[in-house]
């Protein structure tokens, strides 16, 4: 029961992080180029004013799909002996496919607009590099924390054993 709650909480947590990051990014971009992109992109249909409800809901759907995908790819069920690097590559590729689907379906920008695609891949690349770097740094920091705690545990455990012998 407790474990199920952890999984559900983890999924909701993940969805909200992706959603809020996406909306924050879009708000900044919209604030900068919203008016000029108004005619080209449905995402900035309100120009510098903000984001429409439909765009917010579209981003929520993207966040739910990416969080579910992450849950599945990094779960024990999906190719459990696969290297984390390959899982990340599959994850990355799947995200591109999902977002491309949304770009085409909701007209986030015209499909034949080269600048739009360059902008998409650039912003996606930057976001991915930043999130990957932060994940690697966080993992290293956590590893150090666990190693220190484990060494402390072993020391204390050994001292207890020594006391028992004494």
């Amino acid at each position: 029961m407790e474990n199920k709650i952890i999984i559900k909480y983890g999924f909701i947590n993940e969805t909200l992080i992706i959603f809020s990051t996406g909306i924050l990014f879009l708000t900044i971009v919209g604030g900068l180029i919203g008016d000029s992109a108004k005619q080209l992109s449905t995402m900035f249909s309100l120009g510098n004013e903000g984001l429409s409800f439909s765009v917010i809901l579209q981003f929520l759907a993207v966040a739910v799909m990416i969080a579910a995908l992450k849950e599945f790819i990094y779960s024990q069920k999906f190719l459990k002996n696969m290297m984390a690097l390959w899982k990340t590559v599959i994850f990355l590729f799947s995200i591109i496919v999902i977002i491309t689907g949304f770009i085409i379906a909701f007209g986030w920008f015209p499909v034949n607009n080269v600048e739009g695609w360059i902008g998409f891949f650039l912003s996606f690349g930057v976001c991915f590099v930043i999130s990957t770097l932060s994940m690697v740094i966080r993992t290293k920091w956590e590893s150090r924390k666990y190693e220190e705690s484990f060494e402390r545990y072993k020391r204390e455990h050994q001292e207890e054993k020594d006391e028992e012998v004494y």
């Binding site: 983890g10 984390a84 993992t139 290293k140 924390k145 666990y146 190693e147 455990h157």
Partner: protein, 146 residues
Amino acid sequence: MKIHINQQVDNAETEITISCRQINPEIEKIISLLRVMDLKLTGVRERQTYILDAAKILYIDTVDKKTFFYTKMEVYETTLKLYELEERLNVNDFLRANKSCIINFNQIKSIKADLDGKLLVTMNNDEKLFISRQYATNFKEKLGVK
């Protein structure tokens, strides 16, 4: 199956006697369960039955509905299910690592964080095992980092 319980105040040690026509898988399972209570595990390797101290076991896992336990060098098969072992060995520092594996915490060499909240442990025989995010909490609590 008849169960006789002979309760006497002057009994120094609890003694269990099994009377049967021959040892069948059911009896073997009862014996295994009794041994686990004594922190000993009964395992079969190369058609020979061995009794081992639970402390010497590195981890226990299930493959194709069969349960195996691993020492530094050997692999043994047991008739017990993973959940039966988990229930009894929990007090002896055995923790669930994922849906198919229980790890002896005292046989861990090192612990590292892995992507997506998982943990990667190296056992004393240098084998690496994953602890899923679902069960990582128990390990973190044990380390006092949660």
